[in-house]
Symmetry: C2
Subunit: 87 residues, 2 copies
């Protein structure tokens, strides 16, 4: 039975200020890196499942993402199956 890896990326919504990203952008400028117009920082979760990434398992991860991993009021998340997909 293939073991699946699912990745959940959580980013602040575009309309929410991201001071952490701004700080990184400022630091890049001070270090001499040119040509960066925007930096936004988010979280990445790599989740390994005991079984294959069935549609039910992915739906479970989606539910977990919206209840625990992300705050849907201020954050968006995307889910993608990196390996072990089974449709």
């Amino acid at each position: 039975m293939p073991v699946a890896r699912v990745v959940v990326d959580v980013m602040l919504k575009p309309e929410i200020l991201d001071p952490q990203g701004k700080a990184v952008q400022g630091a890049l400028g001070r270090l001499g890196f040119e040509g960066v117009t925007s930096v936004r920082q988010g979280k990445r979760f790599e989740i390994e499942l005991a079984g294959p990434a069935t549609p039910e398992a992915v739906a479970e991860i989606e539910r977990a993402a919206s209840t625990l991993l992300a705050n849907p009021v201020i954050e968006d998340f995307t889910i993608h199956v990196e390996s072990g997909a089974e449709v």
Copy 2:
């Protein structure tokens, strides 16, 4: 001139303990999400460039990632161009 978006994913190296990921894994179990064998948490940076993602610009981002965004002693990073690639 196309504007490029480059994504840098920073994850702890596999051999480094990830207490933050472990905490998320424990919380998932307590919330009733079954079948998760491992969670690792990392950072995701979405970087917008003033110009196209030329090989030189991507090399600059790679230098920035290894000096500022990631700590190469304990973290690995991957870079991928999401839009505006120009090879």
